[in-house]
């Protein structure tokens, strides 16, 4: 059971872009990579071979000490492999100057690891400066990246890391990793140091950034839920970086390759299916909306006609700013938001995240946003439970079909 090669792990050529011309990532290939530390009997990484297709997010998961971080760091040669080859876009990483190599591979680590003595802009421009970009190009790039990670450049450019929250620091960390537009980005537990709600937002943002950029991202995590949510593929490693399973999240949840994977993925894999479904997969409802500055009387009339008790307040760029009960509107002539911290879900958030947020919301539902925080609609319990039932039914049908095909053993394991 040491090495399982799933059917999807077939080697394709260098241009394995999955049907998308906008992919800016390149293929990554590890062949028989071995890392042995002096004085240790067993290698930390024992002959790892792996193909990572361009433009995909591959999550490395496994128990601590399984060699996942070592494997990651061998890609940008922070750790030199004892033997074996690693190539990025078909080019052997040992073929070029190590500093040059690293300037073209993004590197994001836990907490962002920003340099505390440099401003946000200076932190982001570290690699562009090393690459000798001119200052105008660099500062334009800094602003562009801050926009990308949802931080207002004018407000944050000249701040120091200690003036930022943990989540903001992590955002800047991601921006710094993307600075020189590298085709490959390595992330080492990028969201490990932030609270769960911030983590979820950062994950959503990463997914929407990835949707735009299509880099090849290798991300180490110990959190299987994070792996299921972010990964196009998941690599589950055992001690010595032995591949336990390498496949899509769906396939791993449905059919764990062996007892180790089953244990690692954990019980309740039906619940884990919630991490596979995105908010965008369910039917959204569309309650009454109002724009900031609109006349309250009109809004009230509209809401009453729709039978709504509350309205979603949007700003002029259609971004949700508040979710107000009708009684809260009464005070003024025109619509003015009363809170400034309305929680929203990205459409790439999982149903798991959605349930979390709905449970804490007084509305028993959650606002969903799309690209650039634009309002899309609202997700509620009925929609989520409906989706779960539909998925269950599909799985049951699938099971029945497989049983008749005589392959029931595989599925029994997955459903246990």
């Amino acid at each position: 059971m040491s090495t399982t090669t799933p059917p999807s792990n077939t080697r394709a050529g260098g241009t394995d872009a999955p049907g998308n011309p906008d992919v800016s990532g390149v293929d990554l290939e590890l062949v028989d990579v071995l890392k042995r530390y002096p004085g240790q009997k067993k290698p930390a990484v024992d002959g790892l071979s792996l193909h990572i297709p361009a433009g995909e997010i591959v999550m490395f998961v496994g128990p601590s000490g399984c060699g996942k971080t070592t494997s990651l760091k061998m890609i940008n040669r922070l750790i030199e492999p004892t033997s074996g080859t690693i190539s990025i876009g078909g080019e052997d990483v040992r073929g070029r100057n190590v500093d040059q190599l690293r300037r073209h591979v993004g590197y994001v680590i836990q907490g962002g690891s920003l340099f505390p003595h440099l401003t946000v802009a200076q932190n982001i421009s570290v690699v562009p400066r090393l690459l000798k970009w001119d200052s105008r190009r660099t500062s334009e790039r800094v602003d562009e990246l801050l926009e990308l990670v949802s931080l207002d450049p004018a407000k944050y450019r000249d701040r120091y890391p200690r003036e930022l929250s943990g989540g903001q620091q992590q955002r800047v960390g991601v921006a710094r990793g993307l600075a020189a537009d590298p085709p490959v980005i390595l992330m080492d537990e990028p969201f490990g140091a932030v609270d769960p709600i911030t983590r979820q937002r950062l994950q959503d943002e990463l997914l929407s950034i990835q949707e735009e950029l299509r880099k090849t991202i290798v991300c180490v995590t110990h959190d299987i839920d994070e792996a299921v949510k972010l990964g196009d593929r998941i690599l589950i490693l055992q001690e010595g970086a032995q591949i336990a399973q390498y496949d899509t999240p769906e396939a791993i949840l449905a059919a764990p390759a062996n007892a180790f994977v089953e244990d690692f993925v954990g019980a309740g894999s039906t619940l884990k299916q919630l991490s596979l479904s995105r908010v965008s997969d369910v039917e959204l409802v569309h309650p009454t909306t109002a724009t900031v500055g609109e006349r309250v009387a009109e809004v009230r009339a509209r809401a009453e006609a729709n039978g709504d008790q509350a309205v979603v307040v949007l700003d002029e760029r259609r971004r949700p700013v508040d979710w107000m009960w009708l009684r809260e509107l009464a005070a003024a002539d025109t619509v003015r938001p009363v809170r400034d911290d309305v929680l929203t879900l990205d459409r790439r958030a999982t149903l798991n995240d959605a349930l979390d947020m709905m449970l804490t919301s007084t509305h028993g539902a959650a606002i969903v946003t799309g690209r650039r925080d634009e309002y899309l609609g609202v997700v509620n319990f009925t929609a989520v439970t409906g989706h779960i039932q539909a998925t269950e039914q599909q799985l049951a049908e699938g099971r029945a079909a497989d049983a008749t095909a005589g392959r029931d053993d595989a599925w029994e394991g997955g459903g246990a």
Binding site: R102, Y107, S113, Y160, R162
Partner: protein
């Protein structure tokens, strides 16, 4: 006393200038030596306890004794005084530079390497700027100490206000003995305070706002 000062204005001013000049040059050289040593020491971990021991023990050598040892080697005069002051000035800076460089988060260094900074760039752009507040604190301690040691170095005919102090001591009971010793001593104290204020200002200007306490 004012009369005493008034009569010797030019001489006192010159001595004060020489005193400050000796100390600043010695501290400058000491800073370079200490930082270079600290970089070497933090690169080869087994050297760290050695460096700490040397910087602690070095300060216990009486400065008189060291001057006595230096005279046969570099002769009497400015050279001996300079070497002695530099030696003592190096020790606090070395200690602080080692502590400061050690205190830099290893993940930041790895992060710097991971982004493609070579060893030198990592040193000059990450490690030294982050260690700088601690190094500068060492420089301040060192400068204060050197002001006093430079006065003692006048014993081997070094330049500076120490000469006034020794003149006073040599003529004890004489007409201007007390005035001479007092002017020398107070001069050292006042200059030390002034230089410390300047170093504080230097810190304001050179320590990044992001890590200033």
């Amino acid at each position: 006393m004012w009369e005493f000062i008034d009569e010797r204005k030019a001489q006192i001013a010159f001595s004060a200038y020489q005193h400050v000049s000796l100390v600043l040059q010695a501290v400058l050289v000491a800073t370079v030596i200490a930082v270079v040593l600290a970089v070497v020491v933090t690169r080869f971990r087994p050297l760290e306890p050695v460096a700490n021991a040397v910087s602690a023990m070095g300060l216990t050598i009486p400065s008189f004794a060291l001057l006595g040892l230096l005279v046969p080697l570099v002769g009497i005069g400015v050279a001996s005084a300079f070497v002695a002051v530099t030696f003592y000035a190096t020790l606090p800076i070395l200690r602080n530079a080692v502590v400061g460089l050690q205190g830099v988060d290893a993940r930041l260094v790895e992060s710097a390497h991971g982004m493609g900074m070579n060893t030198l760039a990592t040193l000059t752009r990450v490690r030294l700027p982050l260690a700088w507040p601690v190094i500068l604190a060492g420089i301040r301690v060192s400068t204060q100490m050197s002001m006093g040691i430079a006065a003692i170095a006048a014993y081997v005919l070094g330049p500076g206000l120490g000469q006034l102090i020794y003149t006073g001591l040599a003529q004890i009971g004489g007409a201007n003995a007390l005035n001479s010793a007092l002017v020398g001593t107070l001069g050292v104290v006042i200059l030390a305070l002034a230089i410390d204020a300047l170093l504080l200002l230097l810190g304001r200007l050179t320590i990044s706002k992001g890590i200033r306490a």
